[in-house]
Homo-oligomer: 460 residues x 2
């Protein structure tokens, strides 16, 4: 193992979206955010170069193709306050940034209803070629009614069926990306004028419940063939899907114990599925408010409060939880309710309150503002605890805009690197090779043999 | 009118594809092409910067999402000889090149079955933002059976129905891109925390035969809103579609008279449709073999013959003409056939032969190699004739690879500029503003009021 291979380091991705303010809950009206225009390519170039300089593993764009319209049964708040909206296509932004960095990974959410797997496979291969094998895909099933309806469906798909569809979607991708072109299909023989050997290119003949794709993949193999596969969330359907398909999950544990429970549960699932525990990375998603000192971080955190809007958080949480929070008496203390009588979301919110005198609105804001506030040393201490609980990556969010990453890069990253929590140099190769460098699951640029995609490889 | 505004100049786009060798018929095995790797972003950066330096208006990527599999009822020749295949996604390449040029336009084919109009609208707006309003879209209905089948359809759509679908597809786009967000919807008011005014954002409520899109567009307006709209080919359905929707057509006239006939026909159609003749540009597609002198050009042309494959041309023409040319006795003289008895394609080929002693194979090769060979002065003479026939643009193809553009840029462009046939400087603004600068149809960055898209604009 070389000095670069630190399997027990944490991997870092910046959590953002291709929208005003970046991540949901971030403050596009905060002075730290105002200097950054999400529509300006140059600003993204500067940001991604900063991340590469700080040795971040990747930039991650959360994405969706709808609008949060559950709160007050309208998209008005989402449009007025820019609640992860308007939101542009992160695959195109990935391409636009390919040339201005050399090592940084690009990870994006893309749901399984926005594209047909046949054309989506082409997009993935194209991006993997253009970036030299630096892409990751967060597989999303699309939970928004507005997304499904605008794509011509009557309503959002039922949870179980969405995962069933996702399973077929990725199977088609595996067949196209791993099964259609053999390793030595491309010859580029100038003398004989043979570009590729047709005997080594295969129709995939896929006939399923959702998709029919008889033909061959349109593209010659890219460095990773299949991008690094991420999955977000820890529902039972999600965990089953991740056990089979993912190489990394994003999750939001309440605390270190919660993180350990997820890692242990997934480890057991992986063991009994024929994959290895080391085949999976665990990226905790947390917002950070950092400073060069503890005091500066606390000042920043207090200042950020001034720019906050509870309406933004209500629109976002109503959308993601699928319940109109406007139907609750938001400004009453949660203790005034008989929680046994309050259904679903309201009950969960009431239980999350540290004190029964809190109002529902205060609980929502607190939940959305879930964050770590601190200087370099205390951040490093907390990340050490996560790491020791089995966490292997951190998805770094910010409530003051993704562009606030400068303070993380300048103050926190050097301390993390000193303490072996963050890489000092990039390992060689593709995003997959970098993420698994030095671990027992390292398999080169492509998915390892235990992954179901490997079963579609042709060896003739 | 300023010095820059030369309405009677020709507009120039480079004709290529995101595949080995670039355009179909181009020779990926030719020494001029070998230096260029279509999978290397850096090579495309160099090429696009060269085009910008030479004052080309745009780079154009022809595209398709299938494989030519009509010839010998197999895709084997297309895979073996790289017949516009493998082919990667030009929208992603457009994004990847956005940052390395400032003036060059990016025009790409994209068909109406590869994406749903709701998500395609988002891609267009994203690209228009990232490029600062420099994109053009060649609207294609997808003529390949393999493309339709891999997207889950039983077979290729019937010609008339494809255009019917295309008409609804662009209508959905117009509603999203022009109708959903009013001009002053975006406020970005930091004090009041108002990003956009929900009263000025509108559900499009589209219910049609092919698409249902109830909601709002996911993106705030881009510089052009709708990219410059191109249409290719001159079928009756195509002409009707272009009359209504296109701002430019690509066409392949046999000669100057043929070009004039198309321009006259389209002019009459535009006049009777409520649009103006000046609302349309006419891009002749021609291959060029150029040199610094006539002799050098002829030498290049002869040399190129050595790298030619008639199989490539047969696979390409069988695919585009929808008839398996392998069913014809390819190596017999066309005169041996009673052309009255030969159906469709064979009959057309026989009639295109300059002499009855030519074989079918020779005719196919000659047709695919349709080209202008010459030095700067003779090229300029020929382009002057086209210009005087009403042609307003040239789609510059090459049989020796798109990368052979260097000779065109270095030898031919300066002479064309001297003779007023090519711009010496870029006009200001978006691709649309540049293309219509100084003409009566100049309408700023957006489609003019005579275009059907304008009817969806909200004025409240």
């Amino acid at each position: 193992m070389t000095k670069l291979d630190q399997p027990d380091r944490l991997r870092f991705s910046l959590f953002t979206s291709f929208c005003p303010g970046g991540p949901p809950g971030a403050l596009w009206n905060h002075p730290q955010a105002v200097g950054f225009d999400y529509l300006k390519l140059d600003d993204w170039v500067t940001l991604s170069q900063k991340l590469e300089q700080a040795k971040f593993d990747a930039i991650f764009w959360a994405d969706h193709i709808g609008v949060y319209d559950t709160y007050q049964k309208s998209w008005a708040t989402s449009v007025r306050e820019a609640v992860q909206f308007p939101i542009a296509d992160p695959l195109l932004l990935t391409a636009a940034l390919a040339g201005s960095t050399r090592e940084l990974g690009f990870t994006f959410s893309a749901n399984i209803i926005q594209d047909h797997p046949y054309t989506f496979a082409r997009k993935l291969t194209t991006l993997d070629h253009l970036t030299g094998g630096r892409i990751g895909w967060n597989i999303v099933t699309a939970f928004q009614r507005s997304a499904w309806r605008n794509m011509g469906h009557d309503d959002v798909g039922e949870h179980k069926l969405r995962y069933e569809r996702a399973e077929e979607f990725v199977t088609v991708l595996y067949k196209l990306l791993e099964g259609s072109w053999e390793d030595d299909a491309v010859i580029r023989d100038l003398e004989r004028r043979v570009y590729a050997d047709p005997k080594k290119v295969h129709d995939i003949n896929h006939e399923g419940k959702y998709y029919r794709v008889p033909g061959i993949h349109q593209n010659e193999p890219s460095p990773q063939r299949v991008p690094v596969l991420f999955q977000a969330g820890t529902s039972e359907d999600g965990r089953q899907f991740a056990t089979r398909n993912a190489e990394a999950i994003f999750f939001w544990p309440q605390n270190v114990q919660g993180a350990r429970a997820v890692v242990d549960n997934m480890t057991a699932r992986l063991n009994s599925s024929g994959r290895s525990p080391g085949d999976m990375h665990y990226f905790v998603h947390t917002n950070f408010v950092v400073g060069s000192t503890e005091a500066e971080a606390r000042r920043k955190d207090e200042e950020a409060l001034e720019y906050l809007s509870s309406e933004t958080n209500l629109a976002f949480m109503s959308g993601t939880m699928g319940a109109d929070l406007a139907e609750i008496e938001l400004d009453s203390p949660v203790g005034d309710f008989d929680t046994n009588a309050v259904q679903g979301v309201a009950k969960a919110l009431a239980e999350a309150a540290p004190d029964k005198s809190w109002t529902f609105r205060e609980v929502v804001v607190a939940l959305t503002r879930n964050r770590i506030v601190g200087g370099p040393e205390s951040i490093a201490d907390q990340l050490t605890e996560w790491r020791d609980a089995g966490v292997t990556g951190v998805n770094v969010g910010s409530i003051t805009g993704a562009w606030d990453i400068n303070d993380f890069a300048d103050y926190v990253a050097p301390v993390l690197q000193e303490r072996g929590l963050m890489q000092k140099e990039y390992a060689a190769g593709t995003l997959r090779e970098k993420m698994f460098a030095g671990t027992a699951s390292a398999s080169g640029p492509r998915l390892n043999e235990r992954h179901p995609a490997a079963s579609f490889r042709q060896h003739r």
